[in-house]
Every structure is written in C-alpha cells, then in structure tokens.
Amino acid sequence: MAASAPLPPATHPPVGPTARSGAPAIRAERLEVRYRDKFVWRNASFEVEHGEFVAVIGPNGAGKTTLFRMLLGLHWPSAGSLSVLGSAPHRGNARIGYVPQRHTIDRETHLECDKLVRLGFPGTRWGPGDRFRPTVWGPRLRLEAERDAAAQVLADVGASDLGSKSLGSLSGGELQRVFLAEALVGNPEMLLLDEPLSNLDLRRSRELVETIHGLVQARGVTTLLVAHDINPMIKCLDKVIYIANGRVATGRPSDVLTSESLSALYGVHVEVLRDSRNNIVIVGGEDDHGEEGA
C-alpha cells in the first residue's frame, strides 16, 4: 500500500490463514485523525504483528480511545491508511473483541454476569428470543451451547464463580474479568482493551495482566491494551504504542521508553528513570499522564 494512498473501500475481509500469513494484524501508514477541525494526532506509521501483546500508553486526551474507535470502524482517519486483520476497518467486525473504557454498567445494574456475557452471542440477533423460536438446532440446543461457551470464557478469565452474581455487586477487578469474557465470546483474533486496569490496585492489575497475557499466549490473540502505568505489564509486552503531543511512537518497550525517544515525542526534555525494583518512572512531559510507577 502506497504511503499516501487513500483508505481502501470497505470490503469483506479475507478470513482465516490467508489473512494471517499475509498482512500484519494492524498496519497504519501516515495515519492522521481529527474531530472536525481539531487534530488528535498525525503521521503515525506502525505495524502490529499477529499474536503480539501491545500497550497503548499516553496522557489523557492523547487519542488512545480514538485509535481503538478507528480500528473498530467507528471513526474514520482524516488521512493515511489503516488496515486491520487484512482489511479496512469496519463496524461490526466479529474478529475483534472490545472492552470499552466506560461502561454504562454500575452499582445499580442488577443483572447476572452470565447474561451479559451471553448477550455476546445473540445480542445482535433480531426477532423474538430463542426460547420462543424454533431453530435448526432446536432452541434448547442453541441455548445450552451458548451457556457452555459462556461458562468456558468465564473460566478462561478466571471468573467461573462470577457467572450467577449481579454485575452491580462486583469489585472493579471482577467486573473487568467479566468484560474480558464478554469480549472473548465468538473467539476474536484481536482484543482491544481500553484502560482495564484504571481502577485496580497494583496487585489486581498484575493479576489481570497475567490473565490477559495467558490469553495472548494460549489463543494467539493480538491484544492492544490502553493503560496509564506500564509497569504492571512491562515484562510481557512485545510492543508499545506511545501517543503524546499529537504524535505516535511505536517500538519495543526498551526502545520507546527512553529519555531520547520520549523527549522527541513530547517535544520537551523528558527523563525516564528506573527505580531499585526496575519500575519505570517518567519525569517531565505532561503532568497528568499518570506514569508514576509503583
């Protein structure tokens, strides 16, 4: 794809191994994004390979969520080209699992976790519920298959015991596991996790990262995770996408998280320090970006 080529029209994605062997999971070339006349970031070129575990880091408002929205086909680039899993981004891509930053779910949501996870299967199906509709398999079989699959994804994220609990009664960490299970329904090839660690303490963060890393390894699912603090996951990362100051830097953590690279990104002098436990602390740059280490 030529560097300044316009975005290809939405086509049906090539499915299966052909897509996997050919293009990388994500390829962005000179990508630029804005809302109306307001630039978010520009001139971003990077690739994410299949099965990589990538952290997306940057201050508030840098455009991390916007990157996800573009990958999901919910927002269009203003220039440059972007391909996801071998095709142009498009809405309703069943090969991507998504955990948004903000959910409408809160303490007042009285609903079984299992029900939310299971909505991942038929949530987009129209017509009366399967309970009332004969299908080729028979409604019961389908319901049972879905229940088993939901139990399986809940088990995969270490939340087997949460299925029958109310969403409103869960702790922050438990809730994130349920959202993760919801995203895993349908066996996606890519996971986009927007700040799943933001309300968790360091221990819970590490545990959740372990679970996610386990999924990356066991399922080979390409995973992008937006976070404020890179430390809980620094050991398992393949790549970092660092967004700040309208620019995007990508590379291995050891290459991106250096004083030189981040100073160039922010346009002011930034110091990357390591404490005695090898936690990264970034000094300078923007004040509110929360890279305070452990």
Partner: protein, 300 residues
C-alpha cells in the same frame, strides 16, 4: 367515579364481588384496558430502568399533557394529541443520543415549556376543569369499548416491535459501546425504543394520568430489578406488579369513593417500600453473619 352506590357492598367472596362489578360495561372496559396497559408498561418499564430513562419517561408524560390539552381544544380525542406530542418529543430525545435521555436540564427545560403550552391550551378551552383533571390523573372508568379496542391494537403493535428488537435493545441498553462496535444500529434502536415508550405513555395516560405515569411505567420495573438478576424474569415480575396494582386498584375503587389512580399509585408505592425495606434488612443482616466467620474476625 365512585362505584359504591352502583352495586352491593364488599363481601369476602371475591368471585361474587368481581361478578357484580363486571356486570357493568364501564368496569369491564376498565379492567380490559388496565390489563393491556399494565402488561405493556411492565415490559417497557424494564428497559426504562435499564436505560436510566425514568426522568425522560416522566417528562414525556408531561409533554403529552400539552398534546392532550391541544387535542381537547381542537375537539379530537386527547389520545391523538398525546401520541403526536410524545412521539415528537421522544424522537427529539432519540436524535440527541442515548445519553440524552439522562440530560436532566435539557429535558426539564422542554418539560416546563410543554406544561406551559398545555396550560395555555386549557385556558383557551372553556370547560377545562374536568378535562384537565382526567388528563392529569387518568380516567380509567371512562374508557369506552372503542377506547379499549384502540388500546388493544396499539399495544399489539408495540409488543410486536419490542419482540423484534428485544435482544439488540437489551444489549444496546446494557453495554452501549460494545453494542455499537458490534454493528448494532444505535440510532434506529434508540428511536424505536423512544417511540414505543411514547406510544405506551400515551395510552397509559388514560388510566393513570400524566402526573402519575411514573407509578405504572417505572415503579414496577424498579421493584422487579431488585428481586431478580435475570432480564426475562424481571420483565415478568414487573408485569405482575403492574397488573396487581391495576387490578387491585380497580377492585378497591369499586367500594371506596376515591379515584382509581390513587389506589394504583399507593399499591405500587407500598410494594416498592416493602421490597426496599426487605432488601435493606437483608443486606444489613449479612455483615453480622459474616462477622462471626473466623476469617473476618480481626484485622490481618
């Protein structure tokens, strides 16, 4: 309307009681319309609670007031004015986005304007006192046979639409961003829901009136979600509560000289209080139970 003069007094044989009150056509009509509307309100109320759209629901009822008053002024059935005004307002809310149903200030501003408009319409109309009263508080005992049949067919359409969009709507109501990413048509769903809500409110006003719409549209579902974590069960509970309040309200009003709406809202309120207090007592009790558990005995 007081029924106490019309038939024999209450005795503990419910069947005889019901038979004597259902001998009157206006009571049959009231029970039929009340049943249809309670079912519909119970179902759609679940989504209202799930989507936190209770203030929008309340406000839609009030904008319906000006529609009804305008219809009275023009000499047509109030329900048509209700439909026009509530559907227009609901569509506006839908186009503003799903979260707009939570924008208290915008909704409240439109609400005040609509009530002012309704007041103007009423003052232009001469015999306004009784008309206003029945729009504000409902007049279930005044529903005609044709009113019942209008209610029935309208409800059937709303139920059919809800059955078609049930799951996508549930998904979109619960987890907006994920549903959007999965390709659900959010605006269309939002619009369909808001219009169905408007239609339900318009016909429910006959029973309960615009001021008391909350008791039939929101309270039963609010009770239901506190009793069960399953959507389908919650819908069933919500419908049962709405039906109980309506039936019991109609039944009691036969013997007491007070308005039906008063009994319906009182029963709904009593059930709500019972459920809230019951729940509070249970959650209050549980920490004490756990405290005796050795793991939680002291700080670690």
């Amino acid at each position: 309307m007081s029924g106490s003069a019309a038939g024999p007094g209450f005795n503990w044989n419910i069947v005889t009681d019901l038979r004597s009150m259902l001998a009157f056509e206006f009571m049959r009509n009231a029970f039929e319309a009340g049943t249809i509307i309670a079912i519909l309100a119970g179902i759609i109320g679940y989504f209202v609670v799930l989507r936190r759209a209770s203030f929008a629901t309340h406000a839609l009822g009030h904008t319906g007031f000006s529609g009804a008053a305008g219809a009275v002024l023009l000499g047509v059935q109030p329900v048509y004015g209700l439909l026009v005004f509530t559907i227009a307002t609901a569509s506006g809310m839908a186009f503003l986005g799903n979260r707009a149903t939570n924008r208290d200030v915008e909704i409240g501003t439109v609400l005040a304007f609509a009530l002012g408009l309704g007041l103007l319409f009423l003052s232009l109309y001469k015999g306004y006192a009784t008309e206003a009263y029945s729009i504000l508080f409902g007049e279930v005992l005044g529903i005609s046979a044709s009113g019942v049949s209008f209610t029935f067919w309208t409800s059937l359409i709303v139920l059919a639409v809800l059955a078609m969009i049930y799951r996508p709507l549930l998904f979109a109501s619960l987890d907006e961003d994920v549903a959007e990413a999965k390709g659900l048509p959010m605006l269309a769903l939002n619009l369909a829901f808001m219009v169905m809500l408007a239609v339900t409110i318009s016909i429910a006003v006959q029973i309960i009136g615009v001021l008391l719409i909350f008791a039939l549209m929101v309270t039963p579902a609010a009770i239901a979600v506190r009793l069960t974590k399953r959507p389908l069960t919650a819908v069933l509970v919500s419908v049962s509560v709405a039906l109980s309040a309506t039936w019991l309200g109609l039944f009691i009003s036969w013997y007491e000289p007070y308005p039906v709406s008063f009994f319906i809202v009182t029963i709904a309120f009593a059930l709500y209080v019972i459920v809230r207090v019951g729940k509070a007592l249970r959650t209050d009790a549980s920490p004490r139970l756990f405290a005796s558990h050795p793991h939680d005995a002291g700080p670690t």
